[in-house]
């Protein structure tokens, strides 16, 4: 009787362990499903022509996604240029002034910004930039993405700098180094890999964003290098083509998905490699 009860409890424990393992690994099914499906559908489409030509009108064979590639690159690059310096500065402030009233409010603001749904960011930027300029533009898309990048950059900078020993900065200050040089030449270089990995993670997050670009960058079937004009981007192109009724466009969208996926995975891997040097929690 006693032994039976114990056996029952042990069996229950093992059963629970089995269930945990089962559910954990069930999650890999949709992931592998998505990856395999996209690679299978996309790999046949990708070739040099696909990467270097702009789309052809419906019904004509051929055509590529060069406009979306350059557009995406442009939007993300400008977004990074806007967001990274501001984000790092704010992160330095938060780690330097841990308990000031401003940093409390600022931290709250960063938390709020991090939770804003991306579509809402799109609406706000529409009213800030698109409406006053009377045209959709690549720049407005960059601003929207920059605002989505900011919280990640601020957070990772703050967390990285918090991990550094205070004696580093104090040693520099004791040698008579002015405060700004102590921060820029001593503290920042020490935490650079953590900050960089935060930046890369932020770029990886925004590279696949579609919703904020719907009302800002808007999309463009032609090549465009002008920052003040509408521009196509990879996620927008995937959305447009995926919801279109044409089979040719669908297969192009699969190719574009594969390229977007490779791009984002590469960014993630680089992030991991840089973060490994410092044990940073992102």
């Amino acid at each position: 009787m006693e032994a039976k009860h114990i056996q029952y409890r042990i069996a229950k424990s093992n059963g629970f362990k089995g269930a945990v393992i089962f559910f954990s690994f069930l999650c890999t099914v949709p992931l592998i499903g998505i990856l395999v499906y996209i690679v299978r559908k996309g790999i046949g489409v990708i070739n040099w022509h696909f990467l270097t030509h702009i789309p052809k009108p419906v019904g004509e064979a051929g055509g590529g996604i060069a406009n979306a590639l350059t557009g995406s690159l442009m939007i993300v690059l400008v977004a990074a240029i806007l967001a990274v310096p501001a984000g790092i500065m704010a992160g330095i402030y938060l780690s330097e002034n841990k308990n000031s009233r401003l940093s409390g409010w600022s931290r709250l603001a960063v938390d709020i910004l991090q939770g804003v749904p991306s579509i809402v960011t799109g609406i706000v930027i529409y009213f800030w930039i698109v409406k006053p300029m009377r045209t959709f533009s690549s720049f407005s898309g960059s601003v929207a993405l920059a605002i989505m990048m900011l919280p990640i950059v601020v957070r990772s900078t703050e967390e990285t700098l918090k991990l550094l020993p205070a004696s580093l900065k104090e040693a520099a200050l004791a040698l008579g180094v002015p405060y700004h040089r102590a921060i820029l030449k001593v503290v920042l270089p020490c935490g650079i890999s953590g900050i960089l990995s935060g930046v890369m993670l932020a770029i990886a997050r925004i590279a696949g964003e579609t919703a904020p670009l719907l009302f800002t960058a808007f999309g463009n079937p032609y090549m465009n290098g002008n920052i003040l004009k509408p521009v196509q981007s990879l996620p927008l192109l995937i959305f447009d083509y995926a919801t279109s009724p044409y089979d040719g466009w669908h297969s192009m969208a699969w190719g574009a998905s594969l390229i977007l996926l490779i791009w984002i995975l590469a960014l993630n891997i680089i992030t991991k490699l840089t973060a490994r040097k410092w044990s940073i929690q992102l």
Binding site: G33, S106, I112, Y179
Partner: protein, 332 residues
Amino acid sequence: MDLTDNKIAVTRRRSFLRVTSYFKDRFLKDAMNGNKRKTRPSRQIKAERIFKQALILAALSMLVLAVAFLLTLAVQSIPSLKSLGIRFLYGKTWDPVNNIFGAYPFLLGTLLTSFLALFISIPFSFAIAIFLGEYFPTGGLSAFLKNVVELIAAIPSVIYGFWGLFVLVPLVRSLELKLGVTPYGIGIFTASLILSVMIIPYAASMGREMVRMVPLQLKEAAYSLGATRYEMIRNVVIPYTQSGLFAGVLLSLGRALGETMAVTMVIGNTSAIPGSIFAPGNTMASVIANEFTEAASTVYLSALIELGLLLFLVTTVINLVGKNIIKKFSIE
């Protein structure tokens, strides 16, 4: 001897000349450039001050951004608030042609998809949290699973939507045929399925951190009383971490409410009130994505922005509550 004396005298004289000429040069230069030696430290102090002000400005700009977001949304939704009032929230018809705007179908759609997705994803995310936090905190298996979770979080939502449209929709359609409901394929249920996969990482990684923080003494005490591993988890780990797990679920919910692209692509986009979970519908985010650029009249546009404002407020509250719980938990 004379010679060496002479030599020494010459060297002395030379070095004296060199030093004096150095000082002469320097003072001359200082006099010409407005006394550089005095200004150099003050220039550094000035740079220091500018740098500190720039830091404050950057921190302040975060605050300004968040407030400006709220203000922009609030100001732009004034026309709709004025003309529609509170009726906006429970009005059952959304008919832009006749200027009737009731957001109830979208509120219902958002709540249905989000909570259904949460309901589906919770067993998975908790299982991953316990797996990574308790059973296999290190080793090859946990590294694999951790990467899987990160990958799920990394895939862009538009790709989820695309995949859902071409793989999940036919699957759901055949399921619906078997169940004997109208086989739309697209609809609330499909959107929830996609969403549930997308939000797993948030609750899972939060839960893992929490499960890891359970003190070893508590666990060992349970073991020493003769508890099996399941009983230990049931009676020690879960009660200890429940507020943290709840916070993780809240963060997942915040994501699910605001998710746009994947939902827009598979939910069917009709403004009718969904009759069942298999019917097509619309969420707040998807209706904004679909109709924002087409909204012609002021009230129409403003009604969409009011939806955005609502979304902003709800996700902000959910996120802040979740973060507060986590903060309290990690202080304990």
